[in-house]
């Protein structure tokens, strides 16, 4: 890169843009590891030391990394492993086993997977021989034969740790943690979870075997820091081939950060959630609008992106309803107002609707009952209304009790945005009682 920089190639704009896209997408979509976990130094140190001791001294350990979604648990772990594996002595020794609660949904599968990843001898190709029981015995014997000084340390990395706690008897956890607490092959059991109440999930004998080490990732980020990340996420590295372009780009980004409207949006999304994923989502949406014709990120793009991500999805759905369905919803809303939130059935809704037609409708003429029922059922399909009791009991569908799953405000908002909504319907909606 530096060579190219020195002769300062100026690439065509299209080339540059696609370069930008590539780099940014790496960051936003692929969770490219940063060079150093940001603002998590102490946790990082703790984890690193712990793993290092297992790798180097063969001291068994178990630790839990707890933090809300998108707090960077995986990132932290990956960084630690990356740095660790740079050590030759570690790289040659350590075995890694990666499990995820999402994939290994029970111990049978998990055991097979472990055996596979450890390349134990009852694996041929990627086929694991033996029954569940045999696999367990085999694995346990393997680990038991190991010993801290002579056999290679194993990192067990359990993503979605809480899901493992739901396995039958927590057999796997018990055994892994038991190994980590007894002089067998050195292991480090690292669990990642987003549940703060993780430990309550563990059975007491399992819990007792877990060395209660927890690394909490709780981002105490302030807004300025948030803005800073925003900027750094968008700035191009100076290894960018076309330095001229990258300077312009970075300049425009700096401007962007000063922009008031952008700041507002950032503030809003910061208030909503501090995690990076939501920020990345916003940025990706903005980035996707960058093209040759529009080679930098404009405030407008951010605004548009925000509009897309912050829209109320229910309102969007309501927007697409037919007028009949809308009327039904209004009727339901009225019923909710009258019988303060008691469930209703189709007959009542239809009744309200008919009253409306008779009394003050000019635009909407009467519909046959079956037609109305069809509309009603469409709403049911969209899960805008749901039956009170799973809809299993043997009553005629007209009399099945339903609840409306829309908030008063949502209905009103929908009415405002509804294309050429007849005025009488509007009035009916706002009128205090049906």
């Amino acid at each position: 890169m530096s060579k190219r920089k020195s002769k300062d190639a100026s690439l065509p704009v299209g080339e540059c843009v696609s370069q930008v896209q590539r780099i940014m997408r790496e960051r936003f979509c692929h969770q490219k590891l940063p060079d150093k976990p940001y603002g998590l130094d102490s946790q990082y140190k703790h984890l690193l030391e712990l793993l290092r001791r297992t790798a180097v001294h063969g001291e068994s350990n178990s630790v839990l990394i707890v933090g809300p979604r998108g707090a960077g648990k995986t990132m932290l772990l990956r960084c630690a492993l990356r740095e660790l594996l740079e050590l030759q002595e570690v790289k040659k020794n350590v075995l890694q086993v990666h499990l995820s609660g999402l994939l290994q949904t029970d111990d049978r599968i998990a055991l097979k997977e472990i055996t596979r990843q450890l390349h134990l001898e009852n694996v041929v190709g990627d086929k694991v021989f033996g029954s569940f029981a045999e696999n367990l015995v085999f694995l346990l014997e393997a680990l038991k034969k190991g010993d801290k000084s002579s056999s290679r340390p194993v990192f067990f990395i359990l993503d979605e740790f809480d899901l493992f706690a739901h396995h039958k008897n927590q057999t796997l956890l018990y055994n892994l943690l038991d190994v980590s607490q007894s002089a067998q092959a050195p292991v480090a059991v690292v669990g990642l979870t987003c549940r703060l109440d993780m430990l309550e999930l563990l059975e007491k004998r399992v819990k007792s075997r877990f060395s209660h080490r927890q690394i909490h990732l709780l981002s105490s980020m302030t807004f300025p820091q948030y803005q800073e990340t925003f900027r750094s996420e968008l700035t191009l590295p100076d290894t960018f081939p076309d330095s001229k372009f990258s300077q312009e780009w970075n300049l425009s980004i700096k401007k962007l950060c000063e922009d008031k409207s952008v700041e507002e949006i950032l503030q809003k999304s910061f208030n909503c959630s501090k995690d990076f994923r939501s920020l990345h989502l916003l940025l990706l949406l903005a980035l996707s609008r960058v093209s040759v014709s529009n080679p930098t990120v404009q405030a407008a793009d951010i605004l548009e992106a925000n509009r897309m991500s912050a829209a109320d999805s229910k309102a969007n759905i309501l927007h697409g309803l037919s007028i009949l369905e809308l009327c039904l919803i209004i009727a339901m809303k009225h019923l909710n107002d009258i019988y303060e939130g008691e469930p209703f059935n189709f007959q009542m809704v239809h009744n309200e609707f008919k009253k409306f037609i008779q009394r003050k409708s000019h635009s909407i003429h009467n519909f046959e009952k079956p037609v109305v029922i069809k509309a009603f059922e469409h709403l049911l399909q969209l899960e805008l209304i749901r039956p009170v009791d799973g809809g299993v009991c043997k009553v005629q569908r007209e009399y099945q009790l339903m609840r409306l799953m829309l908030d008063h405000t949502q209905v009103m908002e929908a009415l405002q945005r509804y294309p050429q909504c007849p005025t009488d319907v509007r009035q009916w909606a706002v009128s205090s009682f049906g």
Binding site: H57, P68, D107, G130, K144, T171, R205, S211, E383, T409
Partner: protein, 814 residues
């Protein structure tokens, strides 16, 4: 050799021929000259007479064991026919890594004169299959070829170490069975319990016999102690005078080595250990020289093994050759390695540490490591069925083939491809670079504080130790069975104590104070369903593999049948409650077997609830479990403190008050020793990496404090403080709504209304419902809130998972 099959199928009836030739009044034994075996369906009955060579039913039907019949007698009851034999070994019984010593490949019909002090020569006569022709050939002569299938040739002598030329007078068919002179036996018995008469006699006659082979079913796993199995009979005889001593003598002794600095203890048992086995070679040597080491036996009996081992023996000439080993042993132990390691680096002595040996639940691994000692046969036994290529790593292979039936889904599938798990070996690859040794004091301390580091002794559990010890020992002594139920919250050293007990019992057995027994351990958590228990027990007892039902049947048979030779089996069942099934038949069997007359089974069960029997067991099970119960109380802070200090011993890493704090805190919370140790370890780390090291460089209050609240303080409050603004608002809204409703529960819709209001108050623009839901469900994901499934979005009910006060406190703070 299929005819053995057929012979096994058909019933045989045994009858002692003629009149008793001699009587032994003391033992009420009548000695006979010959035994007739009538096989129904065959006209003439086979007669085996004393001095003949015979085939004895073994666990391998194709090659039954070969022996020479020495005596035939009826035991005191007068019913049971017994026989005293002298053993031969077949080629297939020699450990495959020894067979090399032969120098030529053995003749298929060749057998070896077996000379080893370590097996029982008393056989149930009913296991005799029939006579066989054994001819001795001078060492240099060729094997006569074209000989009939059922003549066997003996040429050499096998004494478990090497093949030696067999001199003719050792093997000649004796004219008259030597009846043991009772006069000389009795007094000796009284004077010295060990080594038992049969050994002595053999020592004099120079006849070694091999016991574990005489049994039909009992397989080689028992043989952790096989090389002293012979002492069993002596123990039987001794029981009388034993029982008087049981209560007093050993207990005192145990107290002794508990109090004695633990390091010393290990050194001693190692010593005792080593000496024990070189005592054996001494006996062999004695066989040659014809004198008998009475003296050694006596002193061994009189003073406690713990101390005796060190002092008087070291004088003996054999000590020098051992001393090197001892050194090895010691530094090995100081590293506190577990036995596998000595398997690797400390070569054969590793597996001689009985404590470790029997701590092991499954004994396969370390047997691989045993090189050049009598245990080796066993491994072969296991692998006899599948003979396998001899390679440098033959132990490896052997183990593998040994496991074949267990490791492959179907026996047939396996051999097809070379790379099938036919040779599967459970092992973690060895590390390329050795692990680093601890650098500084703190690291040293951390090492010692790790739960895994095997403690040399268990402080604060003397009483429990004592009770369990007495229980098991008495049962082992008088060969009866029994159950014991041990309960206690996790981390109170239940399992550890039991292991400790077994260890010292094994030690005692090594010192021949008590008959040998074998120890099996299963863990309810380490099996996939309760019925696997049968499979595992059977697997560890006799190395056979079977389905759960079949295993159950076999065990049933084993424990209800009187077997020719049987040791007491001590079975440790950990995490008992996991063995619960609806019909509870697993538990039932476990507790029922000990009550059988011939079972000789001692069952120790461990669980962490005190009233388990009352809660989950149906009557018939509970009643069989009986009333021998013991509950481990959680450690008090004093005990915890003592534990830490004993672990640390002498390594000065902690300030006193720091230790105080930890132990008090833990004692107050759980009394879980593991927790305590973990905290201490964490504290050492904190101390090590903290910028401000306390002046002494020791772990101080501050560090311990930090470690403590790292582990114990709930993270909720911190979490709430770190949530985003909207999330905090939502929590507020939840509380507000709860207050309004006067309930602890509200639907999202209700809360959301409050949330909007709060937003307006805070001057934020209200969020859309979707965002609101997202916020709510983020809180739900980390369980600050408890939510219903998201399908009923607006209607999902919301609960707090934290106390309202905590929330308010957390929110007020900032």
């Amino acid at each position: 050799m299929s005819r053995y099959h057929t012979m096994l199928r058909i019933r045989r009836s045994y009858k002692l021929e003629g009149r008793p030739i001699t009587e032994d009044r003391k033992l009420k034994r009548a000695f006979y000259r010959s035994l007739s075996i009538a096989v129904d369906g065959r006209p003439r009955k086979a007669v085996v007479s004393v001095g003949q060579c015979i085939l004895i039913e073994g666990d391998d039907e194709d090659n039954p064991f070969v022996a020479q019949l020495l005596k035939l007698f009826t035991d005191d009851t007068g019913k049971k026919k017994k026989a005293v034999v002298k053993w031969f070994v077949r080629v297939s019984e020699i450990p495959s890594n020894k067979i090399g010593l032969l120098g030529r490949d053995p003749h298929p019909q060749e057998i070896f004169y077996y000379q080893d002090s370590s097996c029982d020569n008393e056989v149930d006569a009913e296991t005799i299959l029939g006579a066989v022709q054994v001819t001795q050939i001078p060492a240099e002569a060729q094997f006569p070829d074209g000989a009939s299938k059922d003549t066997l040739f003996v040429k050499l002598l096998w004494d478990t170490k090497a093949f030696r030329i067999l001199d003719t007078e050792l093997f000649q068919s004796p004219q008259s069975p030597r009846s043991p002179p009772p006069a000389q036996r009795a007094p000796r018995l009284r004077s010295l319990p060990t080594p038992d008469p049969s050994v002595m006699k053999r020592a004099m006659t120079g006849i070694a016999t091999r016991g574990s082979m005489s049994t039909g079913k009992i397989n080689s796993t028992e043989a952790e102690s096989a090389h002293s199995a012979s002492k069993l009979s002596a123990a039987k005889v001794l029981n009388v005078k034993r029982r008087s001593r049981v209560s007093s003598n050993p207990t005192i002794r145990k107290k002794l080595d508990l109090c004695s600095p633990s390091k010393k203890l290990t050194r001693d048992d190692v010593l005792g250990e080593i000496l024990d086995d070189d005592q054996e070679m001494e006996e062999d040597l004695a066989t040659k020289m014809g004198w008998f080491p009475t003296s050694s036996a006596e002193e061994e009996h009189e003073d406690s093994p713990a101390l005796s081992a060190a002092t008087p023996r070291s004088k003996r000439k054999s000590a020098q050759c051992v001393s090197s080993r001892i050194k090895k042993q010691l530094n090995m132990l100081s590293n506190q390695d577990e036995l596998q390691s000595d398997g690797e680096d400390a070569g054969d002595d590793g597996c001689f540490v009985p404590t470790k040996l029997d701590l092991e639940s499954s004994s396969d691994e370390e047997e691989e490591e045993m090189k050049g000692d009598s245990e080796d046969e066993l491994v072969v036994k296991r692998s006899r069925r599948s003979t396998c290529p001899k390679t440098p790593r033959s132990t490896e292979k052997r183990r593998a083939s040994a496991r074949t039936p267990r490791k492959t889904p179907s026996k047939k599938a396996a051999p097809s491809t070379p790379r099938t798990p036919l040779h599967a070996t459970p092992s973690i690859p060895a590390r390329s670079l050795p692990a680093r040794k601890p650098g500084n004091v703190l690291e040293e301390a951390r090492l010692r504080l790790h739960v895994s580091s095997v403690p040399e002794s268990l402080p604060c559990r003397e009483q429990e130790f004592q009770d369990i010890y007495n229980f098991v020992e008495s049962k082992v002594m008088d060969g009866t069975g029994g159950c014991m139920y041990i309960s206690g919250v996790p981390g109170t050293g239940k399992t550890a104590t039991v292991h400790e007990v077994i260890r010292s019992l094994q030690q005692a057995a090594e010192q021949d104070e008590i008959p040998h027994f074998n120890f099996i351990e299963i863990n309810g958590m380490k099996m996939t369903d309760p019925h696997q228990a049968y499979v595992q027990i059977l697997q560890k007892l006799t190395n056979q593999k079977a389905t759960a039902d079949h295993a159950a049947a076999l065990l049933e048979k084993r424990f209800s049948m009187p077997a020719p030779k049987k040791e007491t089996t001590v079975l440790l069942v950990d995490e008992l409650d996991l063995l619960w099934t609806r019909k509870q038949n697993v538990m039932y069997n476990l507790f029922d077997w000990p009550t059988r007359r011939h079972a000789r089974l001692v069952v120790l069960t461990i669980a962490n609830t005190m009233d388990l029997p009352e809660r989950i067991m149906i009557n018939r099970v509970a009643s069989r479990l009986g009333l021998t119960r013991m509950s481990f109380q959680p450690y008090t802070f004093k005990q915890l403190q003592q534990i830490i200090t004993s672990r640390l011993n002498k390594v000065k890493a902690f300030e006193e008050d720091a230790l105080q704090l930890v132990s008090r805190k833990v004692a107050a919370l759980s009394g879980d020793a593991r927790r305590c140790l973990d905290i201490c370890r964490r504290a050492t780390e904190i101390c090590e990496y903290s910028s401000q090291r306390s002046s002494t460089g020791l772990v101080g209050m501050s560090h311990v404090m930090e470690a403590l609240d790292e582990m114990f303080s709930s993270s909720y409050i911190a979490a709430i403080r770190c949530t985003s603004l909207q999330e905090q608002l939502f929590l507020r809204a939840v509380i507000a709504e709860f207050r309004r409703l006067g309930l602890e529960e509200a639907t999202f819709q209700q809360v959301f209304v409050q949330h909007q209001a709060l937003c307006r108050m805070e001057g934020l623009q209200p969020v859309s419902v979707s965002e609101g839901l997202a916020v709510c469900q983020r809180l739900g994901a980390c369980r600050l809130l408890l939510l219903e499934p998201s399908r009923l979005d607006l209607l999902l009910r919301v609960r707090l998972n934290v106390s309202q006060d905590d929330v308010l406190y957390a929110l007020k703070a900032d």
